[in-house]
Structures are given as structure tokens and as C-alpha cells.
């Protein structure tokens, strides 16, 4: 009897690392199956799948940025505002008649500088918590965005500017129909996520980001310049928000004052659902992607089934709480008692 218990215990200890790594993907697959059963004709159609990816495209950039910040046990509340400010700068520069390659690069630089501002504020001004600095810049950046645009939407960009958010990669040479195209934003998500996966898991800086989240004192004692790494992390987070702005510009063909409103909360939610820990040092790029997908599929699926957006809010909130509770249970199982 005892032997059998031991076997079960050792089995679950062996499975635990895999569950911890890939459990969230399991949840994603289950969701896809459920949606497919509920909406067999529509949900997995080419049109709807590409639609989901287009919808999550800019959120996935914000989520990835916020994820890196959360790994350092920090938080960035300003990503939605960084995106809005970058978008407004893009719109103003585009309206001023700048060539497309300048227009395309402005949101990236603007986003990076906003993130740099956050990082320098947190480290140089020695803010007690990044929450405070980025709460401040949440207002500052959005206010600035409205100041430069006059608080009104600015619309109409060239095709080059819209390419990343709106472009299509034709697949007719594969014998597919014209409607079966690949959105450029999907390819962009894949490329950016792969780059950041390599960065976080296979570079020194990436390893140090995890070390800072695990134990900042250990990182400091190891000679790692913690403040420098934090500035890099917040700058990259801003840069990713800038990419988000460029995608959004393509998708909506407009810079508008409400862009990215509350999307910092969506980004945080995606990270938490994806298994990142607020205490830092935990979580994977794959998990964040799954978190973004789960939120995207949930919204899409509920739209397909004509569920009111109020119920969507209730459900997404419930999923956040549930996902973290499942995580708590999983950790309980994982620790030997």
C-alpha cells in the first residue's frame, strides 16, 4: 500500500515540471476544442482564426513587455498610454507628410523613450515601487498624447505604414483561395515572440532578468547591475508598446484618443493567466502567448455566440481568479509535505 502511494507521489513529482511548463497550453487546447464543439462551422474557419490573431496582435506586444517587467517582480501600468502616445506621435508625423520609413520608426522610438523614462524614474528617483512611477506615467503619457493631437482622432495612413497591422501574405501559390491569406501581424507576433524567447532564455541579460525576480539581493551580490537591467527591461517594454502602436495604426488606420485604454490591465491579465508570478522570477514566453490566446479566444468565442460584452467582462475576470487558484493548487501538489 505504502509502495503504491510512493509510486503515485513520485509519478506526480515527475509530471509536475511538465504540467508547470505546459499546463497552460493544455487549457488553451481544451478551450479551442470546446469552442469548436460549440461553433463547429465558424470557430476554426480560416477567416475566424486569422481574425483572432489580428485581434490579439497589438495586445500580444503589450503583454510580452509587461511580462518581462513582471518577471523582475515589477509592474508597468503605463503600456496602454505608451501605445496611445506612440500612436498619436505616429499620426502627427504622418499627417505632417513625413516619408513612410520615418513614420514607421517614430512609434518604436517614442515607445522606447517612454519606457526609458519609466526605467530611469524607477531607479534614479528610487520610487518605492514601479506601480507608482508607471501609474504616474499612465496619466502623463496619455495626457501628452492628447496635447499633441488636440484630443481628436487623426486618420488616414499610407499602405506602407499600415503594412504590419493590415498587410496580407498571399497564399494562392500554395493552391489556397484568395480569402485564405496570412495576416502580416501574425508573422510579426511569431518573430517577436521567438526573438524574446531567445533573449530571455539564452542570453546573459535574460538570465539576469529572471535572477532579479528570484532574488534581487543575489543578483546584486553576483555583481549584476540591477538598476541597469531594470532600465533595459522597462525600455524594452516601452519599445514593444511602440510596436503595438504601429500594429494598431495599421489595423484602425487612425490615431484616436481612446487607443489602448485599460489595455494595460488586459496585458497584466494575460501574463497572470499565462502563469507569470507577481512575486517575480516565474513564467515563460510560451505561457504569455497562451494567456493572450486564451483571452483572445474567449472574447472571439463569446462574440460568435452573441454573448453580451458585459458577460465577457464577468467571464474574463473569473478566468483570472480561477487560473491563479489552479496555480495555487498546482503548487500545493508540487511541494512535498
Amino acid at each position: 500500500m505504502e509502495d503504491k502511494d510512493k509510486k503515485i507521489v513520485s509519478l506526480h513529482l515527475k509530471l509536475m515540471p511538465y504540467l508547470e511548463k505546459y499546463g497552460i497550453l493544455l487549457l488553451l487546447v481544451i478551450m479551442i476544442l470546446v469552442m469548436h464543439i460549440l461553433q463547429p462551422d465558424v470557430f476554426l474557419s480560416w477567416r475566424n482564426v486569422t481574425n483572432v490573431f489580428k485581434q490579439i496582435s497589438w495586445q500580444s506586444m503589450l503583454a510580452l513587455g509587461v511580462f518581462m517587467v513582471i518577471v523582475t517582480a515589477g509592474i508597468d501600468l503605463s503600456v496602454g498610454s505608451i501605445m496611445m502616445l506612440s500612436l498619436m506621435i505616429l499620426a502627427v508625423v504622418a499627417k505632417a507628410g513625413a516619408p513612410w520609413y520615418i513614420v514607421v520608426i517614430t512609434p518604436l522610438i517614442a515607445g522606447f523613450l517612454c519606457g526609458l523614462f519609466n526605467g530611469l524614474g524607477i531607479t534614479l528617483l528610487r520610487m518605492p515601487h514601479p506601480f507608482i512611477m508607471t501609474l504616474g506615467t499612465l496619466y502623463i503619457f496619455r495626457g501628452t498624447g492628447n496635447l499633441i493631437s488636440g484630443g481628436t482622432p487623426i486618420s488616414g495612413f499610407t499602405d506602407e505604414v499600415r503594412y504590419l497591422g493590415h498587410g496580407r501574405i498571399d497564399l494562392q501559390w500554395l493552391g489556397l483561395e484568395k480569402s485564405q491569406y496570412l495576416p502580416v501581424s501574425l508573422v510579426l507576433i511569431a518573430i517577436v515572440y521567438i526573438i524574446f524567447w531567445i533573449f530571455l532564455n539564452h542570453s546573459k541579460t535574460g538570465k539576469w532578468i529572471y535572477a532579479i525576480g528570484g532574488n534581487p539581493n543575489a543578483a546584486r551580490a553576483s555583481g549584476i547591475n540591477v538598476n541597469k537591467i531594470l532600465v533595459i527591461v522597462y525600455s524594452l517594454c516601452g519599445f514593444l508598446s511602440g510596436i503595438g502602436a504601429l500594429i494598431l495604426a495599421g489595423r484602425t488606420d487612425s490615431g484616436y484618443p481612446n487607443a489602448g485604454l485599460q489595455s494595460e490591465l488586459d496585458a497584466i491579465a494575460a501574463c497572470i493567466i499565462g502563469g507569470a508570478s507577481f512575486f517575480g522570477g516565474r513564467g515563460t514566453v510560451l505561457g504569455v502567448f497562451a494567456g493572450v490566446m486564451i483571452m483572445g479566444i474567449l472574447r472571439n468565442g463569446l462574440n460568435l455566440m452573441d454573448v453580451s460584452s458585459f458577460w465577457q467582462q464577468v467571464l474574463i475576470g473569473s478566468i483570472i481568479v480561477l487560473a491563479v487558484y489552479v496555480d495555487v493548487l498546482r503548487r500545493d501538489l508540487g511541494t512535498r509535505k
Binding site: 539576469w208 535572477a211 539581493n217 522570477g281
Partner: protein, 249 residues
């Protein structure tokens, strides 16, 4: 060890303020190659602060550090590591979410080039870690185990392994046996003795007279942030050292 050779590490007149609190006042310390210096003192006597000054984690408010006779200004722990000065912290300073090997090489990870990219060389980290742990006769299941899964003794062993992985000349250990099982205390003390034999200067902070009298050659006592007493082990006794800790000569 003799007084004629230059000390490996010497601190002169170290003073450290934290706001209005004086943690250290005009403290001197030296350690020679192959020597073990024991530092004793009551809680709050300034032992840990002194060690953090030596390792470059704190900048002293006044005073200077000499390494192999040359004055050095330590801006960060990286500077002291580059000199060959390693610290084993009381709180161990390990990142629990990272595996053993990555903790040992944290901040100094070996890399390999992939085109223009410099990527971490995980197989080399593992190989070097296993070789180093073998050398120190430290037993763990695998170098890939996360530090948070280890026992207190194993964590201490990893911390010591970490400090000695890069040809250290001086190793500073803050309460190295405090969290250990009795069996593991002996191992750590053996480790200190073998470090001494290789010419490493060791500074041990400890409350345990057994540790001090097993491995140290000299002992100094801090009292309320100042040098209180110092003697060669052969010319003092446990009772006298315990008296120093309490401020009695």
C-alpha cells in the same frame, strides 16, 4: 601567516554610517594568504556590515581597503570578485528560481557564439558545475535542480561552491554553519581547511566557538562597531573570546 609577509587583504580605519547610526567606527582588519581569520561579536556588533564593505556591497563612509598591498576602491561586488575576493552571505544570496549551475555562474556565465549572437552555454555550465561540485565532494541530485528545492545545508554548500568556482584568493563566509546539520558542519569546516592549504585567505564570521577553534588561526572581536580585541588562537581560550563578545576583557 607570518607578520613579515604583506597581508592579502587589509582594511584600515573603516567607518560606516547608516543615517544617524554608526555601524562601524575606525575598524581595522587583515588576513594573510593561507590564513583563517575568525571574526566574532554580538548581534549588531557590525560583523556583517564590515563584510559587506569588504565585498563592495556597501561603500564605507571612511577608511580604505588594500588588496595585496595596493589600495582598491570597490564600486560593486563585481570589482571585488575581479580581485579574487568572494563572499558567502548569511542569507546565501542565491536565486531560488534558478538551477544550481546557473546560480554558481550567475553574473559570470560562460557563453558560446552563434553567428553574431552570444548565447549561454548551458552544457558547459552543467559540465563545470558537476566538476566543481565533485571536487568539493558536494552531493546533489543534479546541477539542474532548482535551488529552492534544496535543503538548508545543500544551499550553503552551493553558496560556498559559488564562492570558490573562480579561483578566489580571499573567501569571506558569514555564519557558514549556522543553518547546517551537524554532519554538514564538519564538511564545511573541512572545506575551509582545504581552502587554506591552497593559499586562500579565509575570513569566517561565526557565533560558534567550535568553528572558530577548529579552523581559525587568529580571532578578532568587534564590539559596538569597533575593534575590541585580537589574538592568535594559540594564545587565547574559548572563555576569553566569549568574554570579548560580551565586551569584557
Amino acid at each position: 601567516m607570518s607578520a613579515t609577509t604583506n597581508p592579502l587583504l587589509e582594511a584600515k580605519g573603516i567607518t560606516k554610517y547608516f543615517g544617524t547610526i554608526t555601524a562601524l567606527e575606525n575598524v581595522n582588519l587583515k588576513v594573510h594568504a593561507g590564513e583563517c581569520l575568525g571574526v566574532v561579536g554580538d548581534n549588531g556588533a557590525g560583523k556583517s556590515t564590515l563584510m559587506k564593505v569588504l565585498s563592495g556591497l556597501y561603500k564605507p563612509s571612511a577608511g580604505s581597503l588594500f588588496f595585496q598591498g595596493k589600495e582598491e576602491i570597490l564600486e560593486s561586488p563585481r570589482d571585488s570578485q575581479n580581485l579574487g575576493l568572494e563572499m558567502v552571505y548569511q542569507d546565501l544570496a542565491l536565486a531560488g528560481n534558478l538551477p544550481i549551475g546557473e546560480n554558481i555562474f550567475l553574473g559570470r556565465e560562460p557563453t558560446k557564439n552563434l553567428g553574431f549572437l552570444k548565447l549561454l552555454d548551458f552544457s558547459k555550465i552543467k559540465e563545470l558545475t558537476n566538476a566543481h561540485l565533485d571536487k568539493l565532494k558536494i552531493n546533489v541530485k543534479s546541477a539542474d535542480q532548482k535551488v529552492e528545492e534544496l535543503s538548508g545545508g545543500q544551499r550553503q554548500a552551493v553558496a560556498i561552491a559559488r564562492s570558490t568556482a573562480f579561483n578566489a584568493k580571499v573567501v569571506i563566509m558569514d555564519e557558514p554553519t549556522a543553518a547546517l546539520a551537524i554532519k554538514e558542519v564538519g564538511k564545511v569546516l573541512d572545506l575551509i581547511n582545504s581552502l587554506k592549504k591552497t593559499g586562500v585567505g579565509v575570513i569566517v564570521i561565526s557565533h560558534r566557538m567550535d568553528d572558530i577553534f577548529t579552523v581559525c588561526d587568529r580571532v578578532m572581536a568587534l564590539f559596538q562597531g569597533t575593534n575590541f580585541a585580537e589574538a592568535n588562537l594559540s594564545s587565547t581560550s574559548r572563555d576569553e573570546v566569549i568574554g570579548w563578545i560580551m565586551g569584557k576583557k
